[in-house]
Symmetry: C2
Subunit: 149 residues, 2 copies
DNA sequence: GCAATATAGTGAAGGTACTTCATGATGAAC
DNA sequence: GTTCATCATGAAGTACCTTCACTATATTGC
């Protein structure tokens, strides 16, 4: 069998589609969506943020963040608070419930990764990541959102 | 450097997000969206189809296919025609313009794949695809939409 | 032949994710 | 202290996609 570039590209999309679907399903069981879970995830990683910062981290409009936070706040995942120095800004932070959920989802994400990729030879995994990185470098990374170490 | 499973999972999503964005952008330049281009692509692969078949191929509701085909027909990419034996059914086929566009997009997709993955060692590419396949097998393939040979 | 039932497509209505534009409130700069 | 940038949000709108009800046709069983 000849492994060509087109197959590789196909696999990326197939993998993403399938994994994305599973993720969406898991989130839906908690009453969350992909976009809203993104807010929780960013806050979990970086701590309380102003909505403007959230919009940059999530690469969406500030207006959309307002809507996401509205819903998340109504459901008790996050809370709006005052910014210590800037009275225009709203500081969004995880509630206790939100923090617990975010931590648990992060754990589950890592577990899932290990279930999916964990038993593969480390060299194969290394090659997989290297190929992905090579392609990402080629199309230009947008921003290193988290540490890669 | 330790390559772990979580990194691999991250790369899949990052790659998909970035490549998906580029693809969407390229489609938008032609006045197409991801969903509508899916119709063209399926018709290009399989020839004229009844809307019901399209909905199965695209994994969406028949009602949504109606909308997609409405738009594509209005823009001249596809045409509705009679089914030879079933008068309930609508046979959707590519117009000449649609066929040309689909063929060209398919070519461009292959070119893009080669630009992105083409210069990597064949063994690395093989490993990449093998890892992807392994994961896909694990989560259960939905349906082999096209030949993998 | 004909009633019962299934199937193909579509109108109506609605939900979610996201956008742009205008605006009020505040901060920063000169 | 006026001017200009910035934060968040209301209003309005677009795109994607769904469910439900309905019509037209096909199929099945008698």
């Amino acid at each position: 069998m000849l492994t060509d570039a087109v197959t590789a590209l196909d696999r990326v999309f197939e993998l993403a589609t399938r994994l994305g679907g599973l993720m969406e399903q898991a989130l839906a069981e908690r009453g969350l969506t992909t976009a809203r879970s993104g807010v929780l995830f960013v806050l979990h990683e970086r701590g309380p943020l102003v909505q403007r910062e959230l919009s940059e981290a999530l690469r969406c409009t500030p207006r959309h963040v307002t809507g996401l936070v509205d819903t998340l706040e109504a459901q008790g995942w996050v809370a709006r608070g005052r910014h210590p120095t800037d009275r225009r800004a709203t500081l969004v932070s995880l509630t206790e419930r939100g923090a617990t959920a975010a931590a648990r989802m992060d754990t589950e994400r890592r577990q899932a990764a290990h279930e999916l990729f964990g038993d593969l030879p480390a060299t194969d995994l290394g090659t997989f990541v290297a190929v992905a990185d090579r392609v990402l470098d080629r199309i230009g990374r947008p921003a290193p959102s988290d540490a890669d170490g």
